[in-house]
Symmetry: C2
Amino acid sequence: MSETEGSREQGEGTESLAHRVPDLAALELLLAVARLGSLGAAAREVGITQPAASSRVRSMERQLGVALVDRSPRGSRLTDAGVLVTDWARRVVEAAAAFDAGARALRDRRDSRLRVAASMTIAEYLLPGWLLALHAERPDTAVSLLAGNSAKVAELLLGGDADLGFVEGLAVPKGLDAVVIGHDRLIVVTAPGHPWARRRRPVSPKELAGTPLILRERGSGTRQVLDAALGGLARPLIELSSTTAVKASAVSGAGPSVLSELAVREELALRRLVAVPVDGVSLRRDLRAVWPTGHRPTGPARDLLSLTRA
Amino acid sequence: MSETEGSREQGEGTESLAHRVPDLAALELLLAVARLGSLGAAAREVGITQPAASSRVRSMERQLGVALVDRSPRGSRLTDAGVLVTDWARRVVEAAAAFDAGARALRDRRDSRLRVAASMTIAEYLLPGWLLALHAERPDTAVSLLAGNSAKVAELLLGGDADLGFVEGLAVPKGLDAVVIGHDRLIVVTAPGHPWARRRRPVSPKELAGTPLILRERGSGTRQVLDAALGGLARPLIELSSTTAVKASAVSGAGPSVLSELAVREELALRRLVAVPVDGVSLRRDLRAVWPTGHRPTGPARDLLSLTRA
DNA sequence: TGAGGGCATAAGCTGGTCTTATGAGTGAGA
DNA sequence: TCTCACTCATAAGACCAGCTTATGCCCTCA
């Protein structure tokens, strides 16, 4: 009813997402049914009884208004709709698993064996996935996670408060050894309605420098890279202090923005933002794993490092 | 930095995700707190009382073992850990929103205004996002979704059972007009441990044709494109009937596979799979919107179409 | 034709989460 | 400096969703 300005949620359906989307346990159950082909077997796998599973699946079907499984005395198979729903469910469960991996690392920070320090972008968008993979290979490794800018990461490593660090940016902090583990590109994005969204001819550096942009504040890693690429000339239309705020502003059509491609992957896929081709400017930046000079990563740190490289 | 409270070390590692990840309502509440800066205001927004919100956030902190918000008599702000957790929560909620958008379309199939027919890959990986965007722009549009192969899509459109279709592949089915709305590339992937994973020199078509691959069954869209590109020479190591199964097989290291880049985006980001460079073969395929010749999309179909183009 | 696996239904219990009612701390303005 | 308006925390009771146990029916296979 009451209009929330700016970032709108799903206000219209009157009921929140949580009431329209089955809970995680139900989604996991559905995945188990899909995999095992039987309600009872799925029930056993997730540790509940068969009637509970039957009822849960039934109520999920009632909630969605769609039949998900064909039950037969020989087992249960997904319907066509069930296949689609299961795929969407899988993505929710994967996001939840990433959440869990991150949260677990955060929780075990104190008494853990592997302490990771990472810049915000990496901590948010890449690390949970890596930790998930690490956990799959070495379930007994307790990982902790600290987030901060490059200087903070360096400080933690040099002070012995972290075992392995990840930074993005142009230079490697003093006292650290590094290896490039990937790349991130800053890309120019606009809302689909903006004139640049339809542009096929690349934007030139001069044009970019001459256009007011929605940017992170001066001093942020993203901004540093952009300023360096343009020779310190970026003109801010608005300056905001979080990536999320910049994204929201760009989506709402306030103007073009420059952001990490990691940060806008979802928005691009959903066509909430469009990438604008740019020419003659290197907005690529290296993602590096770092450690104190001479202290080559060993044990779990080494495992994590090798996971992050192809 | 982030603080941790109430440490309990109990090694219940084998509990399911659902027990370790707060439910969707709690995650939405957390996002509201982050946005509004107050437990009470967030409670109001999600339609519960302030004590309920307080208790929910507290139990979430207990569950995660990490303090998420700094409470003060003037409001509540996220801790550093809270910022990270909120970002991961946002991704879960977004996945849930995509689930909801898809499910909603499926449910309204019968009595809807806009009936969309799409191939599996598009229906699974792209459409939920588009529907989300469409719903944001036109909340009153009821959308239904049917999935099938190209022939099925054509049949639905020509029979008047769908208003707009989406297909991937080489040719446009007879009787339909089409416009290219994007591209999908088949890419060669392997588990990180495979020799090809470290390859810098591109794989040649001959080499690819000579190597047994994990593939979808003959007749699937993916397989058709690959066979066409290689001149019908692809050698299967295993043939599986679902993209998910092929992915699982590739991840487990059984061998190289060829899959849509849309389908393996997550796996690449998590480094569970690695893309192998290929040379001299065009594995790109167009994604097209289609409609019966002469029946240009109008109304909601037109809106959806324009959303899918940059 | 009986055994076994598969699913559905019924009844009762439990636990989590909501509500209302209240208290206590802080800051701003009269 | 008193009071109002705002914040969050706590307590006690109500309620409901979902679990378990105990059945029964259906089908297939030996």
